[in-house]
Assembly symmetry: C2
Homo-oligomer: 359 residues x 2
């Protein structure tokens, strides 16, 4: 009997509802596969702000660091939007990422055959899209210093941030990306803005060197970020694995996921050198539908599967969950975000029950 | 008889071919409308590197500054891709923008009814899209200092750039954007990353203040850049006018233009406080088809029209050109990039002849 400590962070908005479904699914698979989960639920984001006045309580980070893996739902909401920066839910998320040292964020964007029509792209453009965006998550302009506000010689206020990468930061994310590409179609596209930015010139130089020295079997290409954004809309099938910095990765992974037309379906993983990984859906906390039982829990359930596979090494349990999701879609069950003619509309709770039946 | 000094910068790749068509069209309209053009052709980009060893000769910038307006085609090509940064064609373009002080870059993205099917988006999503991206062009991380390479305490190399905006820089681009929105549907969406970046927090604060004080009639909204990129794919019709910084504008304007499926059709204008404006197609120099007479000259011709309208105040001449383009499309003539069943394929030169007939 294998046992794992998992910190659960339901967060805000629809977070608690979709987390409940994922926990039920994990428990069911655990019983079947002889896995015990030692779940600890903690506060983060707006929920933590309301209860404790900080977006990332020390106790939450400590619990995460003592776990084998962390499963997050979503954070944020209108309620905290006008808070000062250090009291925003997002600041808690950034602190969590940095605190866990999860530098490698993997965001798959797959157009599932059952859901091709959910894409706003033409069927022939969307069909078969299968992209993995590898985003550097704890460096770049998100964390770069100096940053802040000041007044210049002419008495005008100005504000500034620093986009910075060092060679070890680039090298380690490049290796994760090359390893990922190797397990996929063996093609890696590195995205930067090397025609304008020095930080991108170093990025390109290092990714090229790592590729040449350590991954000669992976086909490496480079693209400017403006062109990459455009190519994702023009012909997304040209991409296999994409590697890029924190800010460009934020933008490109959102475009990639939107291509699928169903961001309610997409999980993500964030890994550190050796500590626990962080697993979460790529969608937000959807405060407008929170508490109405309308949320799609599948991205959360697939994040749990990703956790089992990459965070805990429980590949079989992950596969069982993934095929339960797939068969549930095959049977025509859809939450509102993916509803179309001829399908059966279900709520969040009911989707969970159907998944449990499918297990 | 009105007379204007115009500096022509054909640049690289397909630049000279499409510029020739635009010049013929301007001459023809000029004869009809009693306008004389005093054209001076100068080198920039790769062409200048080959001839003079610098991407922006002093003489080129001087001629531009003495003109009433500057018409650029496109710069860059594989040939110069491995040049050191200061000897890249792009560096010439950035120097030209800075030298002219053209801080306000307007990039329209319109899905023409005749070309809806060229979009990779579904017809119902693409139809009727009409977005104007107002991009700050001579500030932000493109020009911010400090920038460069260094070695840190642990002996590792690192590289950095600074994203910086001052209040006057934000205020002046905000005013251009609000004015633009007022002439359109009266809706402005300001895009930033204020949940992470201080520079975006100042941006949001100033745009909000200018809106409240000077443009209470314009409907202002704010969006994070990752969400904006995603929304452009999900439902582009929600946007009227977008205002954003240099880097985000680079990315978002490329996505917007790709929505139209026909970047060979889209012009842009860049305006300063009082000097000559810079007008250019948004597409690149397409080195792979240079010299084959396959290029689509229409974005260049429409850039000339934009120059007449906004740079020289010759609205009637601009309208004549725009309706010649429209009627040429109506008659079914298409260059290769826009070719579809039932249309007539023409080359760059022939497209120019058809335009002259249509005038
Ligand atoms: C909430 C925000 C800080 C975050 C980011 O920018 O990283 C989000 O957009 C994401 O992509 O996970
Ligand atoms: C060529 C490059 C420097 C330029 C930019 O990034 O501004 C181009 O992408 C553009 O959008 O005009």
């Amino acid at each position: 009997e294998r046992s794992y400590k998992v910190t659960l962070l339901p967060g805000d908005g629809i977070g608690p509802e979709i987390m409940r479904v994922a926990v039920d699914v994990m428990q069911a698979v655990g019983r079947r596969e002889g896995i015990t989960f030692d779940f600890t639920e903690k506060l983060v984001g707006g929920a933590a702000l309301d209860a404790l006045g900080v977006p990332l309580p020390d106790d939450t980070l400590a619990s995460c660091l003592e776990s084998n893996a962390v499963l997050l739902a979503a954070i944020g909401g209108y309620k905290w939007d006008s808070n000062p920066p250090h009291l925003k839910p997002e600041t808690g998320l950034l602190g969590l990422r940095a605190g866990l040292g999860v530098f490698a964020n993997l965001r798959p964007a797959v157009v599932l055959p059952q859901l091709v029509d959910a894409s706003t792209l033409k069927r022939e453009v969307a069909e078969g899209v299968d992209i993995m965006v590898v985003r550097e998550l704890i460096g770049g302009i998100y964390f770069g210093k100096p940053r802040g506000f000041d007044v210049n010689e002419t008495g005008d206020r100005f504000a500034f941030n620093t986009m910075v990468y060092s060679t070890p930061e680039i090298d380690r994310i490049a290796r994760v990306a090359f390893d990922t590409a190797r397990k996929r179609q063996g093609r890696l596209c590195s995205v930067d803005k090397a025609n304008v930015l020095q930080v991108s010139q170093l990025w390109r130089e290092r990714v090229t060197a790592i590729g040449k020295e350590e991954y000669p079997d992976v086909e490496l290409s480079h693209m400017y970020v403006d062109n990459a954004a455009m190519q994702l809309v023009r012909n997304p099938k040209q991409f296999d694995t994409i590697v890029t910095g924190n800010l460009f990765g934020d933008i490109l992974s959102d475009i990639s996921s939107m291509l699928s037309g169903s961001i309610g379906m997409l999980p993500s993983s964030s890994m550190s050198e050796s500590g626990p990984g962080l697993f979460e859906p790529i969608h937000g906390s959807a405060p407008d539908i929170a508490g109405t039982d309308k949320a799609n829990p599948l991205a959360q359930v697939l994040s749990a599967a990703m956790m089992l596979r990459y965070g805990l090494g429980e590949v079989k349990a992950a596969e069982i969950i993934e095929s339960a999701v797939s068969s549930t879609l095959d049977k025509g069950y859809r939450t509102g975000d993916l509803m179309s003619a001829g399908k059966t509309l279900v709520g969040c709770t009911q989707m969970g029950e159907i998944l449990l039946d499918a297990l």
